[in-house]
């Protein structure tokens, strides 16, 4: 198995810093209130980190939520084993808010579709945007990201892994062939 490091450590954190600035640029202070919702699993620590970076820039702390999309998958029947359902926690009023969905890798777009469906079950946000660390292409649905850490040209068989310190002990983007 061949593993290529695309970014790690300070470079990885630099990407997060830039993404936080981009979100703030497009979210002038005031209404609607900004919220970051991380898609389980890696989207959650990324959303928390971004919120911490955004707070001093915006002068206000964005709300943070956690979304588990297992129950919204459209491929449940095709999955051989019983997928574990984890909790969803949206502790703020979704209606009228401006939500940035945060995920590690954008691939076919099916996870994001499920996340949007799950999110609108909680209310009607004013706006939903998508932030990803890596866009690796191979979309199967008409979905694009508003904020992209890095774009990678990949083959279908390759795997992209985003590692975060909170879960994996280090920050890195890896391309595994």
């Amino acid at each position: 198995m061949q593993q290529t490091v695309i970014a790690e450590g300070a470079e990885f954190r630099g990407i997060l810093e830039r993404l936080a600035s981009e979100v703030v640029e497009k979210s002038p202070s005031g209404l609607p209130p900004l919220a970051l919702v991380g898609i389980r699993t890696r989207g959650v620590p990324l959303a928390k980190r971004l919120a911490a970076l955004i707070e001093p820039k915006l002068g206000a702390r964005p709300s943070i939520g956690t979304l588990d999309i297992t129950l919204y998958r459209d491929d449940l029947i095709a999955v051989a084993s019983q997928p574990i359902v984890r909790s969803t926690d949206i502790p703020f009023a979704v209606g009228n808010s401006s939500i940035v969905l945060v995920d590690d890798v954008l691939f076919t777009g099916r996870t994001v579709r499920a996340a949007i469906t799950a999110l609108v079950d909680f209310g009607r946000p004013r706006k939903i945007e998508l932030l990803v660390m890596v866009d690796r292409g191979w979309r199967e649905l008409p979905i694009h990201a508003d904020y992209v850490g890095t774009r990678l040209r990949t083959s279908r068989e390759q795997t992209v892994q985003v590692l975060v310190e909170e879960e994996d002990g280090r920050d890195a983007i890896l391309l595994v062939a």
């Binding site: 588990d68 297992t70 129950l71 919204y72 998958r73 449940l76 029947i77 999955v79 051989a80 084993s81 019983q82 997928p83 574990i84 359902v85 984890r86 909790s87 969803t88 926690d89 469906t117 799950a118 079950d121 909680f122 209310g123």
Partner: protein
């Protein structure tokens, strides 16, 4: 971790890890029930048949709500309005239903073992919603979930089960589950309502309630099943109440943070005093709420992977 079997027929055949899987999954489904829109698309396009050969309100409604919250289509069939009254056999009824391709058959039957008999002969997943005096596995799982929520653990607890043990499938499932998960189970009942060889379930028998209940973490009352009593199991309602009912005074012998449970329906003034049933230690209605979450988890785990 997955469930080894395509069916949920009893607690006896579940491993502790499988029980933990169901309980963990139930936590997520409880959150769904607390949302403004209590519905997720996980089982869209799946069909659940609730086949009830015995009267039931809460279990049937609980399964129906669970299926609907998962976006499955659920259909209720009761023996009173079905071809069973015209003399059709159980197997023919089930085979005909299966020809309409349901994904899950939830079945309650007055005969012990009926869901096992059916499960061996159909492709659909079968869930035992209570079979005779044998088992009621989903009730035991929702009871365990309720205890876990209140106490944070299942192991090392003293659980006292009081009442009509002889006729109770709830007792049998709970005794199996709780001992499997490391609780100690003490049972108490009139000798006439003790099943023969009850100790084989790994429980301790103490016939005086006042002794059994001392230092209990959980007191689980059972309904006196008048409909199954053909003989004289106890002399009078008043005597049963005096000797075995859970009263405010009796409950004081348990631990200060004791929780009280009852699978319902309640016979107020027979096995339980109203002041206890409606009192601060009672989790009876929490059990009902949790029942939906646990049944969602079971339907999801069985139908989701088929």
């Amino acid at each position: 971790m997955t469930l080894a079997s395509h069916h949920l027929l009893d607690i006896e055949s579940l491993s502790p890890a499988e029980i933990e899987l169901v309980l963990e999954t139930s936590t997520s489904f409880k959150e769904v029930g607390e949302r403004a829109i209590k519905k997720v698309p996980a089982l869209r396009g799946k069909t659940v048949i609730n086949l009830f050969f015995e009267p039931s309100t809460r279990t049937r409604v609980s399964f129906e709500i669970a299926a609907k919250r998962l976006s499955a289509d659920s259909i209720n069939v009761s023996s009173a309005g079905s071809s069973v009254v015209k003399g059709e056999t159980l197997l023919d009824t089930v085979k005909n239903l299966e020809a309409m391709a349901p994904d899950v058959i939830v079945m309650r039957h007055p005969s012990s073992g009926a869901p096992h008999f059916v499960a061996r002969r159909v492709e659909s997943a079968v869930v035992n919603a209570g079979d005779g005096m044998h088992e009621h596995p989903t009730q035991a799982l929702l009871d365990a979930f309720t205890i876990l929520e209140a106490k944070g653990r299942l192991s090392g607890l003293k659980v006292v089960i009081v009442g009509d043990l002889l006729h109770s499938r709830v007792f049998r499932s709970n005794a199996r589950l709780l001992t499997k998960m490391g609780s100690s189970v003490t049972v108490t009942a009139p000798r006439t309502l003790l099943p023969p060889f009850v100790e084989r379930l790994g429980v301790e028998v103490i016939t005086a309630v006042n002794d059994a209940i001392v230092d209990a973490d959980v007191v689980m009352m059972l309904r006196v099943q008048k409909e199954r009593m053909e003989g004289a199991f106890f002399p009078s309602v008043r005597e049963y109440f005096n000797l075995y009912a859970l009263t405010v005074d009796r409950l004081k012998r348990a631990k200060q943070d004791v929780i009280l449970m009852h699978p319902g329906p309640l016979n107020r003034g027979l096995e339980i005093e109203s002041a206890v049933a409606d009192g601060p230690y009672s989790l009876i209605l929490d059990q009902v709420t949790n029942g939906v979450a646990v049944r969602m988890a079971i339907l999801y785990l069985l139908a989701g992977a088929s």
